[in-house]
Amino acid sequence: MPLDNPKGQSFRLVGSRPDRPDGIDKVTGRAKFGADMSAPGMLVGKLLRSPHAHARIRRIDIKKALALPGVKAIVTRDDFKEIEGDLRDVSRNVMARDKALYDGHAVAAVAAIDTATARKALKLIKVDYEILPHVTDVEEAMKPGAPVLHSDLFTQGVEPTPKKPSNIAKRHEFGHGDVAKGFAQADVVVERKFKNEATHQGYIEPHACLASVGNDGQGELWVCTQGHYAVRNVCASLLGMDVSKLRVTASEIGGGFGGKTTVFIEPVALALSRKAGKPVKIVMSREEVFRASGPTSSATVWVKIGIKKDGRITAGDAVLKYQGGAFPGSPVDMGAMSAFACYDLENVRAVGWDVVVNRPKQAAYRAPGAPISAFGVESVIDELAQKIGMDPIEVRLKNAAHEGTESSYGPTYGVIGLRATIEAAKVHPHYKAPLGPNQGRGIASGFWFNFGGQTCVSLNINIDGTVALAVGTPDIGGSRASMCLMAAEELGIGYDQVRTIVADTSSLGYNDISEGSRVTFSTGMATIQAARDAVKKLCGRAAQMWGISPEAVLWENGHAKPAGANAGDFPPLSLADIAKVAANTGGPIAGHCEVNAEGAGVSFSTHLCDVEIDPETGFTRVIRYTVIQDAGKAIHPSYVEGQYQGGAVQGIGWALNEEYIYGADGKLQNAGFLDYRIPVASDLPMIDTVIVEVPNPGHPYGLRGVGETSIVPPLAAVANAVSAAAKVRMTEIPMSPPKILKAMGEAQRR
């Protein structure tokens, strides 16, 4: 859907900051999240998880557990059929089959009358494991002789296809030009290796669901998820149910950030419920969330970039190795595609390796793959700028991708906002502010693709002229407010007159998951189209009442009006006027839209970060932070700023203190918020934001998704700031105090 008016548009409501429609529910405790639902006769479901990083499961004995009074059902691998194809790995991740592939892998599940009984039952299940050697580090897993997780995994994308299985699932390569030629033209070349540990999305709400399957095979599922249609389709496949027999309702969702785009406990709860004939609720503990949901990849990244003294980059090359946990599918392809996406390069190459290790299967985390590669590339750009004595902003401006640039992953860019964000950074007071002792400033840019996808909305005109808008994308960051704004904008009515709800899977057609920064873009586009569909119908009803042709009616400020003097002289009819008599003019009035939304505009962001380091302890504090990002058009600026701030802070956490720590035994050592250290309020300054608006030509209002890009630059922005303050280049993330202190000590000794 193209931009309505490329010359600029004015809006009545879009761009204002009204209260969100679900606000009162959420400040009074009334909002119902995943764990807040209950059902009469409900059982408690609990999972037994592998204590081993890698083990063959010889036998599972559930007899004693089943005999415990109060235990109503137990499921193991035997209760899930073998699945081939796309969902094979998902199915095996949900419940281990021949092998447990990571510490925390589900092995069995119990439904019992209460938590205490379920816990007791878990202890009575005897699993006979044959412990196998394990590997949790990406580089170790790639070595010949490493313990192999899957005997049927042969590296794809290399010629010839290996005859021996390994942990290397796939090789990807992107780029164009001739990097060797480019490096030969360079005056300065920097190459470095970077490393980052895995992180977790860290949503505060653990996974939770309530499943109920009747004896007739009809099922209901209440679940906190980013995509209830996807949950329905996957669960139906895993359990051999007709899709029509499973109705999934998305609860309010307490954070997802990509981590709630797949299934973990949902098929298990359904299987238990089906077996027990009673509703079953499963709520993960925080420990389970860390051990057995979907963290990010850990990775090593090698980057080499050449530059001329005048600041023009001649070539960029990168090799990325990402582990994706126990199954193929790390986001290394997206890491490789986005690595150099901010730059206009003649010679560029990025090679990615997708590797499996004995860790939980990774799940998406906000711009999956991109922060990791951007950390390497933006750090090297920073170093090159220092080496040629040029301001890092000037280097970026000189090489920034623009309209017409052949992107590093292929397609030629249309209208993009990267340069606008860098220019805004350059003139921002933050960039000029003086720094004190032991302080350093970092700058970094980032890119994300943004997606559209399948979307369906239903916009119903109520009898009093108010509007009920049903969407199918769970609201993960205030999107209902944006939908109300767009519907009201189109219809010419008040914001408060539209109520947006997230419909269940049986009430509305299929919708893709709330992911890829797609909701405000796609569901917004569908809402606008549905509103225009409704307007057409409203005009038709008015035409009928006036006895004129529908083409002779136009819609203005919430009223149907004759299009001109020739159309006749009739007093305008408001939406409420028309709605009131809908029964007499043809029945209910509704607008619909079913679309596969295309045309999502790519997104760019530039961040500024100041840190201060205690040189005696390595303690690092972010003292100032500014996010500048292109939103295309900010529908509800407060929630756009919220996305910028939230993404930046997650990135700051990743950069400084968050990490998965595995012991030599392959077990996760910090499965809790005590030692998995996400930023707390006292760690941070205010996060300044600048919303740049370079309209996306592929959306009627020009909007671009804003959810993910904000996590791409911070790793590098913080690393560049820390490197400046510590006077030593930091190449390992997280830059925890022991690492900083060690690097500073080594630099002083050199």
Binding site: Q156, G259, D333, M334, A364, P411, T412, Y413, G698, G707
Partner: protein, 81 residues
């Protein structure tokens, strides 16, 4: 004829070529002709790809027209968080 640029690691399925030409007026035709001409691409095509036409990325739209002279890239099927 449409010239399609493949991403680097697919060239093993096309005898080393990263640019291939097929006759196609829309994405569905493009994908089926690619599979016929280069059977080695078939598994990847079945797993899912995105197609970029003149800088716009499409994930599913079979009937998206490919105007003559368009810049066409095959890309991995992408997903966000």
């Amino acid at each position: 004829m449409v010239q399609v640029v493949l991403w680097g690691s697919l060239k093993s399925a096309t005898g080393g070529a990263t640019k291939v030409e097929v006759e196609a007026a829309n994405i569905r035709e493009l994908l089926s002709r690619l599979g016929e001409k280069h059977p080695g691409l078939k598994p990847q095509l079945d797993r899912g790809v995105s197609v970029s036409i003149d800088g716009k990325i499409y994930r599913d739209a079979w009937f998206q027209p490919i105007p003559p002279g368009s810049e066409v890239f095959l890309l991995p099927r992408l997903a966000g968080g």
